[in-house]
Amino acid sequence: MSALLSLSGVTAYYGAIQALRGVDLVVNEGEIVTLIGANGAGKSTLMMTVCGNPRARDGRIVYGGQDITDLPTHAIMRRRIAQAPEGRRIFGRMTVYENLLMGAEVSGQTDVPALLEQVFALFPRLKERLTQRGGTLSGGEQQMLAIGRALMSRPRLLLLDEPSLGLAPLVVKLIFGAIRELNRTSGLTVLLVEQNAYQALRLAHRGYVLVNGAITMAGSGAELLARPEIRAAYLEGSSHSA
């Protein structure tokens, strides 16, 4: 396996506040890697730093063999990295169709009908909602749209930030199933940020634990699940939600 994305010694700041403290992390081609941690540990910041917003102050970010540390955000995203960000960030005053189109258009994808079919196969609900405005969708539908929009750019690396947040267990199951399916059938590489540690570690090949902006533990999903300190810190009271 070759590394698709690797971070070495990455630090990032919001103003004077240090959000990442020398993060080393590798995502190999075809893997699902999850990043777990408490609120404010820096999970979303890490994902945004990969996308150049905020920019890494120290350290290097290498993607597909190229150093992308100093590239502007739009240039990074045009290298077939897609993100379904925290809070979904659907364009509320655009239709579902236009939202999906935004994913394909800028990255220069021309085969829009085929990409749409692929998204509809995963989330048939979006097809029914095609002409509806993004802002009128339910939370679950918005999450499907956020992931669908990211997939429309035919990414090599998909960054998913808390796709289960605020969703009903049945919808979470559907979305996690879709991620697994994408990874299996098309070898899509996924970096997944989750608070729902149990589900995330069961889905992922490998996981990292982020505490106060630094990686404190790493291992395979099963290994991390078995660790008592993980159970104590992140799984208490949440394992029943499986």
């Binding site: 005053r93 800028v106 750019s153």
Partner: protein, 304 residues
Amino acid sequence: MAYALQQLINGLTLGMIYGLIAVGYTMVYGIIGMINFAHGDIFMIGAFLSLIALLGLSALGISSVPLALALTLIFAAGIAAIYGWSVERIAYRPLRGSFRLAPLISAIGMSITLQNFAQVSQGARVKPMEPLISGGLLLTEGDGFAVQLSWMQIAIVVTTLIVLAIFTWLVTKTPLGRSMRACEQDLKMAGLLGIDTDKTISLTFVIGAALAAVAGLMFLLYYGVIDFYIGFIAGVKAFTAAVLGGIGSLPGAVLGGLLIGLIEVFWSAYFSVEYKDVAAFSILIVALIFMPTGLLGRTEVEKV
């Protein structure tokens, strides 16, 4: 009745001009959340560019009015677009991410700079121009008053409608327009989709400035006199139009422009010409107090 009909025609014509300027205010507000106070002065620069072009073309012996107008429009819009781009590049982009008041202050500075530039380079005196198109259609006569629709008014309204139609198509149907709307709704997400947000913001200024220059040409044709100060009053009125229509809303800007034009003209006709600006600005105050989201402003609740 005939008198009122005449005022309606005049008001709509003037309103079209305000609407064209208001679109520029509302677009920039929508995308970066600031009021570009230099926008009125870009309109003024557009009017001067139009005057220069028309005089130049007549010196070259081009006597066909439609041809001269078309060339002037392209020239003025093109050069004003460069002004718009430069203003954003010099005065606003370096301040992006700074505190909210910073770009506002630099916008006022830019406005003063452009005004003084026009005053120094073109002189402080009022510049008159021979009417390019004269005559018109006599619609009806009544109460000893002839209602006239001048060719000039028709030219202004038709040109504005064509320009607005092209603009609407651009925003709603093209990839560029979708990128602009994406930036307007969520700048950060637009960047995450690979949209070059700085470039899109620049293009917004370019398009807004081109529309303002078209308004400048229309203003020159309609009133026949311009000076370096027209940008301020027209700018504040267009800003009022944008607020009245609902700042951030493009159809709102045009609607607000038409209303401000009508209010100004009817006020002048029935009350007092001297206080016509007071009428327009009172509307701004009333709108800000009682209807801050404007007529077509957003009220839709978005789920999270």
